[in-house]
Symmetry: C2
């Protein structure tokens, strides 16, 4: 689960590098072994379930800019979409057991975390 000072989806930045405050990833004890090998300084892809998004919205104005024509949500990064999975690229600042302090996470407080992966490195460095 995400712990963040961000409480209001409408006030959150649209992307993590647009002014998101530091936040925590808080994992369940049941996945302790799955965290082995992660360290401060790592970049991670965090997958969330955007539980406050609307699932019945299929078209939006990109970046909420009404001067831009509506597009299908699959052509945008809108939170509103049939399966609202969030993808966030964050940097780990510190690890305290099951709590990871991270930078660049725009998800609001209480958002469930569903998966974590490292970014894919170049072929040859895998």
């Amino acid at each position: 689960m995400v712990e963040s000072p961000l409480k209001d989806p409408a006030a959150a930045p649209m992307q993590g590098d647009e002014g998101a405050p530091e936040a925590w990833l808080v994992f369940d004890a049941g996945v302790t072994d799955a965290l082995h090998g992660l360290a401060a300084g790592d970049e991670l892809l965090v997958f969330t379930w955007l539980d406050r998004a609307r699932r019945d919205v299929l078209q939006v104005h990109p970046r909420d800019d009404r001067s831009r024509p509506e597009q299908g949500v699959f052509a945008t990064r809108s939170q509103d979409r049939p399966n609202p999975i969030g993808l966030h690229r964050v940097t780990v600042l510190a690890i305290d057991g099951l709590r990871f302090r991270v930078r660049d996470l725009e998800a609001v407080d209480g958002t469930p975390i569903v998966d974590v992966k490292p970014p894919l490195r170049r072929a040859g460095e895998r």
Copy 2:
């Protein structure tokens, strides 16, 4: 849903740029409006549910290389993980209604698609 000549997870390439054959993304008619604005030539992030993965595996040898020490699955791109969400970066080759022909997709035939997003562009180009 993915339509692909790849049938056997054990024989599929580990990543899409490691020899995956061309494949199709086949969407449900209910999300037709959400596809508006996508075009041949686009790069897309495709999210799948890896329904043949194991959800009880928490540690693996990276890239199935037993000479490498076991790591937590969250530090690897293993398909086996508590919530087996696949992330695939593909290029759209052609669109035929609800069917998108794509390059670099290593998911096997029949894998459910759960979301599609464009890659995030640099700040300033959003």
